[in-house]
C-alpha cells in the first residue's frame, strides 16, 4: 500500500512538471486557433470555443513565410555541412594523432567554448564589413567550416573510445592517415556525427543575434528575424503572432522528434570531463 502511494506520488510529480513545461505550448496553439473576438476574452480561456485557421491565413499574408523557411533551411543546411566537414577532422587530430601541442590545443578549444560572443562581436562585424559581406549569408555560414568548439570536444570524446589497434592495423597495411580517417574512423563515428548534425541544425535554426546583425534585406531573413520583424511592424497582434509562432516551431519540433536520441546523448556528454 505504502509502495503504491509512493509510486503514485512520484508519477503525480512528474506529470506536474510535464504539464508546466507544456503549458506555454498549449496556450500558443490555443491562441493561434482562436477567432479574433476570443483572443481577448476575460477570463482567458485555454482552448477556443470556435476553432478556426484565420490567424494562420493572416500571418501567411502578412509575411513571406515560405521564403523565410527556405532561407532558414539553406543557412542551417550549409552550417550542418560545414560542421560535418571540419569538426571531425579536428577532433581526430585531438583524439588519435600524437603530436606535441595537442594538449594546449585541447585547452584552447575548451577555453573558446567559454568565450562570450560579445567580445568578438564588433571586430567580427568590422571584418565582414571590410570584406563587403555584411548583408549576405557568409557571416552566418563560414564559421561552421572552421569548426565549432563544442562539437569538436564532443566528437573528440567519442573518438577517444575507438581502439587504437583498429587504426594501427590499417596503418600497417599501408593506408594513409587520411584513408584511415575516411574509411575507418568516420563510419564508426556515425552516431556522434548525427548528434553534431541535429545540434548544429537546431542551433542555426533558432539563432537570433547573428541574423539580426548580419542580414539587412528583409528578403534574406531567417524565420527568427522574420518573426521579430513581424512583431516590429504589427505590434502585439496576438492571434496571428501565435499562429506564426506555431508555424516557426513545427520544423524544429519535427527535427527534435526525429533526432531525440542524439540530443539526449549529445547534451549528456557535455557534462563529462
Amino acid at each position: 500500500m505504502d509502495r503504491k502511494a509512493r509510486f503514485a506520488g512520484r508519477h503525480a510529480l512528474v506529470w506536474a512538471i510535464a504539464l508546466g513545461m507544456l503549458f506555454p505550448f498549449i496556450v500558443m496553439i490555443g491562441t493561434a486557433l482562436k477567432p479574433p473576438t476570443e483572443v481577448f476574452s476575460l477570463p482567458p480561456r485555454l482552448l477556443p470555443e470556435q476553432w478556426e485557421f484565420g490567424n494562420f491565413e493572416a500571418a501567411l499574408s502578412a509575411m513571406p513565410f515560405w521564403r523565410y523557411l527556405g532561407n532558414t533551411l539553406l543557412v542551417s543546411g550549409l552550417c550542418v555541412v560545414g560542421s560535418l566537414v571540419s569538426c571531425p577532422l579536428v577532433a581526430y587530430s585531438l583524439a588519435k594523432l600524437h603530436w606535441p601541442g595537442r594538449g594546449l590545443m585541447l585547452a584552447l578549444v575548451l577555453g573558446s567554448m567559454m568565450l562570450p560572443p560579445q567580445v568578438t562581436l564588433v571586430p567580427l562585424y568590422l571584418l565582414w564589413n571590410k570584406l563587403g559581406l555584411v548583408g549576405t549569408y557568409f557571416p552566418l555560414i563560414v564559421p561552421s567550416f572552421f569548426g565549432i568548439p563544442f562539437f569538436i570536444f564532443m566528437l573528440r570524446q567519442f573518438l577517444v573510445g575507438i581502439p587504437d589497434e583498429l587504426l594501427d592495423a590499417a596503418r600497417l597495411d599501408g593506408a594513409s592517415e587520411f584513408r584511415v580517417y575516411w574509411r575507418i574512423v568516420l563510419p564508426l563515428a556515425r552516431p556522434a556525427l548525427a548528434t553534431v548534425a541535429v545540434f548544429q541544425f537546431v542551433w542555426t535554426w533558432t539563432d537570433f543575434l547573428n541574423p539580426l546583425i548580419y542580414l539587412s534585406d528583409s528578403s534574406q531573413y531567417t524565420l527568427s528575424v522574420g518573426l521579430y520583424a513581424f512583431f516590429s511592424e504589427h505590434g502585439v497582434d496576438w492571434g496571428p503572432l501565435m499562429a506564426a509562432s506555431v508555424m516557426f516551431t513545427l520544423p524544429a519540433l519535427i527535427i527534435f522528434l526525429l533526432g531525440q536520441r542524439y540530443f539526449v546523448e549529445g547534451i549528456a556528454t557535455k557534462g563529462l570531463k
Binding site: M21, W99, E177
Partner: protein, 301 residues
C-alpha cells in the same frame, strides 16, 4: 620505435594538418578579433571614419555612465538570482525523473522541448502568458489567491519575468544532471540505505558529492551564459521600431544588450569594444574564482 625524430615530425605535420581548419579559425575568428577589440576599445570609432586613438577615455566614460551601471546591476541581479534558481530546479527535475518512473524518455523529451524551439517564439509566447490583463499566468496566480503583478510593465517584476523564462528552459541542465545521476555508484547508495540513512542524508552523503563536478561545470556555464544574456531581455523589451529600448525604466537593459546597442544602434564601436573587454575580464575572473574555491566542495571520485 626506430627513426624517432622523423616519426615525431611526421606526427606533428599530420596533427597540424588535421587540426588546421580550427587553427585557422581560431586565429581569424577568435584570437584576432579579441586583440582587435582590445585595440578598438582605446579608440573612437563610428564605422564610417577611421578609428581615432583616445587612450582610456572609453573606460573612463563607463564610470559616469548611468546606463552602464544600470546594465551591470541588472545583469548581476539576473545572474545572482537566476543561475542558482535554475540549477536547483533542474536538479530537482532530474531527481524526480530519476526516481524509477515509467515513460522516462517521454518526460525527458518534454522537459527538453522548450530549449529547442526558436528563442524568439519562446519570448513572444511568454510575453503573451505574462500579459497582466489577458495573460494566463496571472489567471493561474489568481486562482491560487496569489498576487498578480504587472510582469512586463512594473520595473520590479521585469527581471523576475526573465528568470521565470529561464526556469522554463532548464531542459539542457536537467538532461546533464540526469546522466550524472545515472552514474552515481549504486553500491555506496545501498550501503547508506543499510546504515539507515534517510533520503536527505543519502542525498547529502552520496548523491551530492558524486554530482559535484557536474554541478561545478554547470555553474560555470550558467554564469557565463547569464553574464552575456541578450535575446530574452532584448525581445521582452522590444517595442515597435525602437532597437534602443531597455524595458520600463531600463529594468531589462542587460550588459549584452548595452554592448549591442552601443555597437549597432549608436554606432559607438570603440565604446562597445571597451564594454566587451570588461565583460571578458569579468567572465575570466568569475571562472577563476569558481575553479579556485571549488576544491572545497567538489569531489572527484
Amino acid at each position: 620505435m626506430p627513426r624517432r625524430s622523423t616519426t615525431s615530425r611526421r606526427q606533428l605535420r599530420l596533427g597540424l594538418a588535421f587540426a588546421s581548419p580550427w587553427l585557422v579559425g581560431f586565429v581569424v575568428l577568435i584570437l584576432g578579433p579579441i586583440v582587435a577589440s582590445g585595440y578598438y576599445s582605446f579608440t573612437d570609432f563610428n564605422l564610417f571614419q577611421p578609428p581615432t586613438f583616445v587612450g582610456v577615455d572609453n573606460y573612463r566614460t563607463m564610470v559616469g555612465d548611468e546606463r552602464f551601471t544600470k546594465a551591470l546591476f541588472n545583469t548581476l541581479y539576473l545572474t545572482v538570482f537566476g543561475v542558482p534558481l535554475a540549477l536547483s530546479l533542474s536538479l530537482g527535475f532530474a531527481l524526480a525523473l530519476n526516481s524509477r518512473v515509467r515513460g522516462l524518455p517521454l518526460y525527458r523529451a518534454i522537459v527538453y522541448l522548450p530549449t529547442i524551439i526558436p528563442i524568439v517564439v519562446s519570448v513572444y509566447v511568454w510575453r503573451w502568458l505574462l500579459n497582466a490583463q489577458y495573460g494566463y499566468f496571472n489567471r493561474i496566480l489568481g486562482l491560487l489567491h496569489l498576487p498578480q503583478p504587472n510582469w512586463l510593465e512594473d520595473p520590479t517584476f521585469t527581471k523576475p519575468a526573465i528568470i521565470l523564462i529561464g526556469l522554463w528552459m532548464v531542459g539542457g541542465t536537467t538532461v546533464i544532471y540526469l546522466a550524472a545521476l545515472k552514474d552515481v555508484p549504486s553500491e555506496t547508495y545501498e550501503a547508506a540505505l543499510v546504515d539507515g540513512a534517510g533520503p536527505w542524508q543519502r542525498f547529502r552523503a552520496v548523491t551530492w558529492p558524486a554530482i559535484s563536478p557536474v554541478t561545478l561545470f554547470q555553474l560555470i556555464v550558467g554564469l557565463i551564459t547569464s553574464l552575456q544574456l541578450f535575446t530574452q531581455p532584448y525581445l521582452l523589451a522590444q517595442t515597435r521600431l525602437n532597437a534602443a529600448a531597455g524595458g520600463p525604466d531600463d529594468s531589462l537593459l542587460t550588459y549584452g544588450m548595452y554592448v549591442y546597442q552601443n555597437a549597432f544602434v549608436f554606432l559607438k564601436m570603440g565604446y562597445a569594444s571597451a564594454l566587451a573587454w570588461v565583460l571578458f575580464l569579468v567572465t575570466l575572473a568569475v571562472t577563476a574564482v569558481l575553479m579556485l574555491t571549488s576544491r572545497r566542495w567538489v569531489h572527484y571520485g
